[in-house]
């Protein structure tokens, strides 16, 4: 083992001279008496999620399951999307016609191809109402991270039953994806933004400059 490792560990152990050797980590108390479970009704949850997304300047529409395909096609048309990136396991019924579909089959799309596309369509893992956050966990119909990052327009489909109220609920739902599957996780709360110039908020820096969310309500 490296010399530095042993030295640092020795320094730490001697620095912690006041911690009794018998003390276990869990002996150092952590009270978790903050909220871990929301109590909001589903309809209100969807409303709050929507409000917060709009607050971040994301575009949001509510659609029924039957309307979804048409809504996707409409969004693509409105944004002039001609070449649309999709993960390979995205339902084919979502594919808009009149648009060239770039399927990321076996992760084969190059960065250049992603860069030259007009947008990307994905599902998501979780929506968080409290913060207006969309969470991708590289699971079903989400694809690898690069495809939802490089294109300039991200169209994301959220099912109403994927929306939770609070951040702790989302963290807890992700546990298995992280601990059992080691999947990368991305939290998205509105399009990228900077306030670096005189604290003026500019939406859209390096990620997709436009984020559009379709919430599928039943």
């Amino acid at each position: 083992m490296s010399e530095a490792r042993e030295a640092i560990l020795a320094r730490i152990r001697s620095a912690l001279h006041d911690v009794p050797p018998s003390e276990q980590p869990q002996d150092s108390p952590v009270k978790r008496d903050y909220l871990t479970q929301g109590s909001t009704e589903r309809a209100q949850l969807i409303e709050r999620f929507t409000d917060r997304l709009v607050d971040y300047k994301a575009k949001v529409r509510h659609v029924s399951a039957e309307e979804l395909a048409a809504a996707i096609a409409q969004s693509c048309a409105e944004h002039g999307v001609k070449r649309l990136v999709v993960p390979s396991d995205l339902p084919q019924s979502w594919w808009p016609s009149d648009v060239e579909i770039l399927v990321d089959r076996d992760f084969s799309l190059s960065y250049d191809e992603l860069d030259r596309s007009d947008g990307v369509l994905t599902a998501c893992a979780i929506g968080v109402a409290q913060t207006g956050t969309i969470i991708l966990d590289s699971g079903e119909a989400q694809g690898r991270r690069a495809i939802s990052l490089v294109p300039d327009y991200h169209l994301c489909v959220v099912r109403a039953d994927q929306i939770v109220d609070l951040v702790p609920e989302a963290v807890s739902n992700l546990r298995s994806a992280v601990l059992d599957h080691r999947r990368p996780i991305t939290f998205i709360s509105g399009p990228s933004a900077t306030s670096d110039i005189e604290l003026n908020r500019v939406e859209g820096v390096h990620g997709p400059r436009t984020l559009e969310v379709l919430i599928v309500v039943s």
């Binding site: 730490i12 992280v178 991305t186």
Partner: protein, 486 residues
């Protein structure tokens, strides 16, 4: 043994630097506007959470547990990262960390790397070390890019280019990025940076980042950001190197439920920052296929050894204490002359480099206590400041003969430090102050230590505004903000 990295040449006397900063009116205007805006936003989103105090307490307690068992958690983290396909390196100090990183870059024969803003890499002066090795490091945060192109140091943990206005940035971009036509509209300026950096993101093979969180049980690293340059650096290059201070560790994934609430609300005043990325080692076909984690001590184990100073390592670098600090607002970050400015810098830097090398920094505060109130992990900054002042005085005494020993400042500081060293006594003093029974405490804040603080008195003379005492100004500022937030 002292780490030699947070270099002394970077730590001029606070008083002198602050005077220069105060004379720069542009800086003062920008700082004022910036800190005011962030303060109001923070207050609003913190006010939204009924359980904010419970979250703060949990944050503090999780950090305390982590620090009391840091060796255990570091070993667990090392094992988790390795199991997930990552490499772990240990660095005692800055030069060791820089050597490790430079070697990794060299192995890949890369001449250029892209970077995500990271105070830790600033602390070890990584860019300079890379440059000496013939490697160009391109900063990808807009503000950092501005700073880098201008060849300056950052003035604020979170908005490093706060001292530059739009026309200065426009002029800089036209001069350095080869842009011919450019307005001073922030949107156009951001677009110019996007165009410049995009090619680098798509082609540079190695990225270097810091880390906001590292989860011991899973080996997961987290980065919180706004612009998307973080996601770019964490996703597109083949090789990723993350440098983290050993205190950034959290025991469990669940702990993030606390910190993902505390950090964004405290730092940018948002319910959630635009992007947060988590990755665990290497994922096949997704993101970098080689991952290195560098664990940096560089003085931290020394901070850990001080039972009062230890809480400094709770810090999650949110910068709330900077934005609330009247001294910081009036002097700007450059005045602190260290990588970590503001109240946190005033306690962290002297502990990392040793008080004898930054002896004026613990005096760069009025001890008003506002920083403690906003700190999401409940670092009692005034307590640590007073403790460090006592150390400075002791240091002087040890090297100043009998005169030093009988110095009234020294004697009074010792008494104060005894009081502050005890949380209960300190809180009792605050309560007494609220009832007007304690001479140094007004309105619930520790306001001044009468006649004691030579360093601070000198500062106060420098920074009095015409016809307005510091106290009046502070009170007025508070009132205005209360009104604004109604």
């Amino acid at each position: 043994m002292r780490p030699n990295s947070v270099v002394i040449e970077l730590t001029p006397k606070f008083e002198k630097a602050a005077k220069q900063a105060l004379e720069n009116t542009q800086l003062r205007r920008n700082m004022g506007k910036a800190t005011q805006t962030i303060r109001a936003k923070r207050a609003a989103v913190v006010g939204e959470l009924p359980d904010w105090q419970a979250l703060r307490e949990a944050g503090r307690a999780i950090k305390e547990r982590t620090l009391r068992h840091l060796d255990h958690y570091l070993l667990q983290l090392e094992e988790s990262v390795k199991r997930a396909g990552g490499h772990v390196h240990w660095a005692r100090d800055a030069s060791e960390a820089n050597r490790i990183i430079t070697n990794i870059v060299r192995v890949h024969q890369a001449r250029e790397v892209i970077k995500i803003k990271s105070l830790t890499t600033d602390e070890i002066r990584l860019n300079k070390a890379l440059k000496e090795a013939g490697i160009t490091a391109t900063e990808t945060d807009l503000a950092e890019l501005i700073i880098q192109l201008a060849g300056e140091h950052s003035s604020h943990i979170l908005v490093p280019a706060i001292h530059k206005n739009r026309s200065e940035i426009r002029e800089l971009f036209m001069r350095t990025l080869g842009v011919k036509e450019l307005s001073d509209n922030p949107k156009d300026l951001a677009a110019a940076a996007r165009a410049y950096l995009r090619h680098k993101f798509l082609t540079t093979p190695v990225a270097i980042s810091g880390a906001n969180f590292a989860i011991a049980e899973s080996g997961t690293i987290g980065i919180v950001e706004s612009e998307g340059n973080g996601r770019m650096c964490l996703t597109l290059p083949k090789v990723l190197i993350s440098v983290m201070g050993i205190e950034k560790i959290l025991p469990t994934w669940q702990d993030l439920e606390v910190f993902l609430q505390l950090l964004p609300r405290s730092s940018t005043g948002e319910r959630m920052n635009p992007y947060t990325s988590f990755w665990t080692g290497v994922t096949r076909d997704d993101g970098p296929q080689e991952f290195h984690l560098v664990l940096l001590d560089n003085g931290r184990s020394q901070v850990l050894a001080d039972e009062i100073g230890r809480q400094t390592l709770n810090c999650i670098r949110c910068s709330a204490c900077l934005n609330i600090c009247p001294v910081y607002e009036r002097t700007g970050g450059h005045a602190y002359g260290s990588v970590y400015p503001g109240p946190i810098g005033a306690i962290l830097t002297p502990q990392l480099v040793g008080v004898e090398h930054a002896s004026s920094l613990p005096y760069a505060s009025s001890l008003c206590g506002a920083c403690y109130e906003v700190c999401p992990v409940k670092i009692n900054i005034p307590e640590v400041l007073v403790h460090l002042r006592a150390k400075v005085v002791r240091e002087k005494q040890d090297h100043g003969g009998l005169k030093g020993k009988l110095d009234p400042e020294n004697l009074a500081m010792q008494a104060m430090s005894r009081m502050f060293s005890n949380r209960v006594a300190y809180e009792a003093a605050q309560r007494m102050g609220q009832k007007g029974q304690w001479p140094m405490v007004k309105d619930g804040y520790i306001t001044s230590l009468p006649g004691l603080l030579g360093g601070w008195t000198a500062m106060r003379d420098l920074q009095a505004l015409p016809q307005e005492t510091f106290r009046d100004w502070w009170r007025k500022r508070k009132k205005q903000e209360e009104k604004a937030s109604e």
